[in-house]
């Protein structure tokens, strides 16, 4: 693993560490998914989590969320144990992990973002509903609020998940492939939303396959394939050598004017 220098301009408001992952080992019934992952994310920064499918990106996010318990190591969120910091974290799962046929409306789903704060036997108050409306508005979902979630397009569904995460009013956002399969316009919209959130002091860890996005807009990149291959300034992380190490040479990466062109060639 290599720790590389990070961009100087990373705007770090109120210095401090948002996410601290300490030597985390994790997996599922004997199969190792993460091997000694160890890094820190400063407050108010955007980190792109990059790696091939099955490289442990989702597992890492779930460990940070406390949804999956590591075998070894620990995670601190804003200096607290995950359990205590649960309310500070917003999360969007991969779109494939959500039951889109479930009979709930867009507004119902975003309201669920408030449930974690409410606790047992408590119903959303006017203040909670106000937060929900603000999040719907911010993701431009007002016109779709009464739609059943299965009646939405892929881009709209991703916006619903992000709106729900924002309704949690989190300090840290963990987003699992929020931009996969979106067209360029909507990707751009999302990126500017992420930048707005960072300017508000939120910390974002975003799993993605889009190296160009990470290079242009993110403060750091974390290259993962079970173990951490590299972490730091995206331009330093996304070298031919390190990418091939992470992607096991299944790719040839051609950097062209700040974007990356990837060419798959089978490993046979």
């Amino acid at each position: 693993m290599r720790l590389l220098p990070t961009k100087q301009q990373a705007p770090i408001a109120g210095n401090g560490t948002a996410i601290k992952v300490e030597n985390v080992w994790a997996g599922y019934s004997g199969r190792t998914a993460l091997e000694g992952v160890d890094f820190e994310v400063p407050k108010a920064s955007m980190v792109g989590l990059v790696g091939p499918n099955g490289s442990g990106k989702s597992t890492l996010i779930k460990v940070i969320l406390g949804m999956h318990h590591p075998w070894r190591g620990r995670v601190l969120l804003l200096g607290q144990e995950v359990r205590a910091a649960r309310r500070l974290v917003g999360y969007t799962p991969q779109i494939e992990m959500v039951d889109w046929q479930f009979p709930v409306t867009v507004r119902d789903v975003v309201t669920m973002g408030r449930y974690g704060r409410l606790g047992l036997l408590r119903w959303p108050t006017a203040a909670d509903r106000e937060v929900v409306e603000r999040c719907l508005d911010r993701l431009q979902l007002m016109d779709l609020a009464k739609r059943q979630i299965g009646e939405l397009s892929g881009g709209q569904q991703r916006r619903v998940l992000i709106a729900r995460a924002l309704a949690q009013e989190p300090e840290v956002l963990l987003l699992d492939e929020p931009m996969a399969g979106l067209d360029a316009t909507i990707q751009h919209e999302l990126l500017s939303l992420f930048e707005e959130l960072r300017a508000e002091g939120k910390t974002l860890l975003v799993a993605t396959h889009d190296l160009s996005c990470v290079t242009c807009c993110f403060d750091r990149a974390l290259l993962l394939n079970r173990r951490m291959i590299a972490y730091g300034d995206p331009e330093k992380v996304f070298t031919q050598e390190l990418l091939n190490e992470a992607f096991k040479s299944h790719l040839i990466i051609l950097p062209v004017e700040g974007t990356f062109h990837m060419v798959h060639h089978g490993h046979e």
């Binding site: 479930f102 709930v104 669920m112 431009q140 779709l144 059943q148 067209d183 919209e189």
Partner: protein, 300 residues
């Protein structure tokens, strides 16, 4: 007009028919409230299993001379918890765990009653249902169980909804999903016992699944599904009772058949998934999505 009225009102002049209708109204409400979770979580097989497993409790209570409902609830709840436990502690899939445990419980029931010389009618009214034989005592017990189920679902609706829709996220938000999971299985077990006398062990699953599935075709929010499902169940019950009365056929089975027909009807005309509506997709999503995205963002 008056002839039609006579035809309609005649069956319900009998108190046994009134009691039957009252019990079916409660069964419909409870089955819909629990059935929406059964349908959405794909728990139909477990619902069927719990109804069958309750037979062990029915038989045991019959032998011991205690309350048959109490026996049924204990057996069904114990089976629900055992299924959850076995599927967690072994590498068996959930449906294998269900298959092993519920037939075991059902067989236990048969073994117990086969030792009795005087079993016949009373016990078999639980197997095939005997809604026309529902007494005031049955109504009272069904009513108490129904009220308890609806109260619990009402109180914990938020958690049940969150768990049913997105268990991972619910867990991350601090919902005790294990407790909710076993709680839901327990609720299904009690709901199965509520419907036991009305439609019988073998048809309980129909009351849990069919009206809720019908409602799923018609409305788009979980609590609306509960209301519509209860109405579908009630309509099936009323029509089924008429069929049973005038055609002299088994009442439980008639009700279930009517419910199946209503499901077919809803499938045909469903605004979203109906067979007749396939040519009218709701809107063109892509165009709309782009339009929304293209709208300038509010600087605030």
């Amino acid at each position: 007009m008056s002839e039609a009225w006579t035809w309609l009102s005649e069956p319900f002049q009998y108190t046994f028919m009134q009691r039957a209708l009252l019990s079916l109204a409660m069964v419909s409400a409870v089955s819909a409230v629990i059935g929406v979770f059964v349908v959405q979580k794909g728990l139909a097989f477990i619902g069927d299993a719990l109804a069958h497993a309750s037979f062990a409790g029915v038989a045991m209570a019959f032998v011991l001379g205690s309350s048959i409902y109490l026996g049924a609830v204990i057996a069904a709840v114990a089976t629900a918890l055992a299924i959850g436990f076995v599927s967690r502690r072994t590498r068996l899939s959930l449906d294998t765990a269900i298959g092993i445990i519920f037939v075991g419980a059902f067989a236990l029931g048969i073994v117990i009653i086969s030792r009795q010389s005087n079993y016949t009618v009373d016990l078999f009214s639980f197997v095939f249902g005997n809604v026309l034989g529902v007494g005031w005592h049955d109504l009272l017990i069904i009513g108490v169980m129904a009220a308890a189920i609806i109260a619990v679902v009402g109180a914990f609706y938020k958690e049940l909804l969150f768990y049913a829709y997105d268990p991972d996220m619910a867990a991350a938000s601090g919902v005790p999903v294990q407790v909710v999971h076993y709680g839901l299985l327990t609720l299904i077990a009690v709901a199965a016992v509520v419907a036991l006398k009305a439609v019988g062990i073998v048809l309980v699953v129909a009351m849990l699944v069919t009206p809720a599935a019908t409602a799923a075709l018609l409305v788009r929010r979980l609590h609306h599904m509960m209301v519509v499902g209860a109405l579908v169940g009630l309509a099936s019950s009323v029509i089924g009772l008429y069929v049973s009365y005038y055609a002299s056929v088994a009442s439980g089975a008639s009700i279930v058949l009517v419910a199946t027909c209503l499901f077919g009807l809803a499938w045909l005309v469903s605004p979203r998934r109906g067979l007749l509506m396939l040519r009218h997709p709701e809107t063109s999503f892509e165009a709309e999505d782009l339009a929304v995205a293209a709208r300038p963002r509010d600087p605030a």
